[in-house]
């Protein structure tokens, strides 16, 4: 047998395409916006040549937004890939399972009742809310015969999501101040990110990313069923726990800062798997790359579509993601029959 590397032709093409998507999106993200700027100013913002100081400052302000878009997109895509592997269910995703909404609910409650205001406080609440929702939704979907099937998970997630969303509204609506500051946040928006925000989230995200690196081979074993995985020497319970922890951590930390951004975690891993097959050692890194590219791209698209104002990135990803969701559900149903 020939020694094959993981990077065969098709995968190399995908890798290149995703890198290009990310590079183009990053470029557009610092260039495009409500204020039109010169290409010279863009370069000047990165210390190449000089430009109009005002335009340079506009561009500089777009840099942390772009950086956060990259990190958040990668985190959401990884979170989706982990949840799909964990539940052996192609429909699992932080937004569909209601995990994002759970995180937002806890953050909104924290703002309203506990008067918290810093991102490092948000993230703990987001994490608790996301974990509780994940446990509840999975528990709800497991009731009855057949375990947590794709359709039952989607239904339980939709129910939890709707219920939590109305609770979010209940808490927010009577409170003008909370509503003003978090109206945009709740639709998913990466525009407000600053460097200090990103730094405060970094430890959580890094833990999540490191978990992914270590989990990939184990998730490959887990995909063969609990019995085979046990036979291969995998500690199934531990791996499930760590994957769930990492998946929830990754989506909760982005949600804490950006609000719930849906469908990235659903679309990207699904798309990547179509090309790479089910090897998690490929699916995870390529999903991270794709998620970063898509989120930054969706953010730019929101600025173009919403011009002269902006459309929140969460709305754009939902517009892109809803048809993909329908497509996947149909496919799952057909193959299950």
């Amino acid at each position: 047998m020939k020694q094959k590397t993981l990077f065969t032709g098709k995968i190399l093409i995908l890798f290149t395409a995703l890198i290009c998507l990310l590079a183009i999106s990053m470029f557009l993200s610092v260039t495009f916006g409500a204020k039109h700027v010169d290409l010279r100013s863009v370069l000047a913002a990165f210390k190449i040549g000089s430009g109009d100081p005002y335009e340079v400052s506009v561009v500089s302000a777009r840099v942390p937004r772009t950086a956060f878009g990259i990190i958040a997109g990668a985190a959401l895509a990884l979170s989706g890939a982990l949840m799909q592997a964990l539940t052996r269910n192609p429909i699992a995703d932080p937004s569909i399972l209601g995990v994002n909404t759970g995180a937002s609910f806890f953050v909104v409650c924290g703002i309203s009742f506990l008067h918290i205001s810093t991102n490092s406080q948000y993230i703990w609440l987001a994490f608790i809310g996301a974990s509780l929702t994940a446990v509840c939704v999975y528990g709800l979907a497991s009731i009855g015969g057949g375990g947590a099937t794709a359709i039952k998970l989607a239904l339980a997630g939709a129910a939890a999501s709707t219920a939590l969303q109305s609770l979010v509204n209940t808490v927010m609506l009577p409170n003008n101040q909370v509503m003003d500051s978090f109206r945009f946040w709740q639709t998913g928006n990466i525009g407000g990110a600053t460097w200090s925000d990103i730094i405060s989230l970094a430890p959580f995200l890094i833990i999540g990313f490191i978990c992914c690196i270590f989990l990939a081979p184990s998730l490959n074993a887990l995909a063969l069923g609990d019995d085979v995985a046990t036979g291969l020497g995998l500690n199934v319970k531990l791996i499930r726990l760590v994957s769930a922890f990492a998946g929830v951590l990754l989506c909760a930390s982005t949600t804490a800062l950006a609000g719930p951004i849906g469908f990235i975690g659903l679309m990207i891993p699904h798309f990547v798997r179509l090309i790479t097959g089910p090897d998690m050692r490929l699916v995870l890194p390529l999903s991270a790359l794709g998620g970063a590219g898509l989120l930054v791209f969706a953010d730019v698209l929101g600025r173009v579509l919403g011009s002269p104002s902006e459309l929140e990135v969460g709305i754009v990803t939902a517009l892109l993601g809803a048809p993909v969701f329908v497509f996947i559900v149909r496919k799952v149903k057909v193959s299950a029959l």
């Binding site: 690196i213 069923g225 046990t230």
Partner: protein, 266 residues
């Protein structure tokens, strides 16, 4: 191949606290093909699963070379003791080589690709099972018999001295059943792999087993070579069915002819 002894001591086993096997003491013969026989619900799968550490004993112990299974690090154990459960999951769109390569999991470290030993074990497993030509195919596209060969190849790539199989021939048509069983016997003869499996077909067990464990209601009723233990009385005792035992005209092993009520009306 190294010699290994698996034995159970006063084993109690079952699911969720419900005891199915009570106080069982057996020693699995090393380097032989053993088959566990018994009626539905007699605990044969439970016994297999407990010996293969899928189930924790509710009491007593399963010992590998004198040490309890749970005392071994799980990856180290997976290098000695392999298993093929009844309904493994095929990941969507996985290729044969990729699936078989996953049998190397207990040998691999984090952040390391396949070593030369890994490639060698995988290609050997494919060749023993005669599925080299399927290496680049998607597992979803294969027939039931081919698919079962792929799963056994995964267990072979794991390079264990002991292999447990839970009904490896269920859902296969008769030609595939014989093919799979012959492959397993060949594996046993070539590599001295200890094989333990649950089978439903008594005649297949009689033909391919060196040693049979006959169980009823969670207890061992008889054990030994098929020729020595497969009698009309034993079959009646474990299955509650009358039968006639003749000699298999081809293999010379015992052959069971079941006798139902219709027989008396003739």
């Amino acid at each position: 191949m190294n010699e290994h002894v698996i034995k159970t001591e006063n084993l109690k086993a079952g699911y969720d606290g419900r005891i199915i096997i009570d106080d069982l003491n057996i020693t699995i013969p090393d380097g032989k093909v053993s088959v566990i026989l018994g009626a539905n619900g007699c605990g044969k799968s439970t016994l297999l699963k407990t010996c293969a550490r899928l189930l924790k004993p509710e009491g007593g112990s399963v010992l590998l070379d004198g040490k309890e299974l749970s005392k071994y690090p799980s990856k180290a154990l997976a290098r000695t003791l392999g298993l093929l459960p009844q309904s493994p999951t095929v990941p969507d769109g996985i290729r044969v080589t990729d699936l078989v390569s996953r049998g190397r999991f207990p040998y691999q470290k984090i952040m390391q690709g396949m070593s030369d030993a890994d490639f060698k074990a995988v290609s050997e497993a494919l060749s023993i099972m005669g599925i080299e030509s399927l290496a680049d195919k998607c597992v979803d596209e294969l027939s039931g018999g081919q698919r079962q060969r792929v799963w056994i190849a995964l267990a072979l790539a794991q390079e264990t001295d002991i292999l447990f199989l839970d009904e490896p021939t269920t859902y296969l048509d008769i030609a595939y059943q014989i093919e799979i069983l012959e492959l397993l016997v060949e594996l046993n003869r070539k590599k001295k792999t200890t094989i333990v499996m649950v089978l439903h077909d008594i005649n297949e067990a009689a033909r391919y087993a060196d040693h049979i464990f006959a169980m009823k209601n969670g207890k061992l009723v008889a054990e030994g070579a098929p020729k020595d233990i497969l009698t009309e009385d034993l079959i009646n005792e474990i299955y509650g069915m009358r039968c006639k035992v003749i000699e298999d005209p081809v293999y010379g092993t015992p052959y069971i002819i079941p006798i139902g009520k219709q027989a008396e009306q003739r």
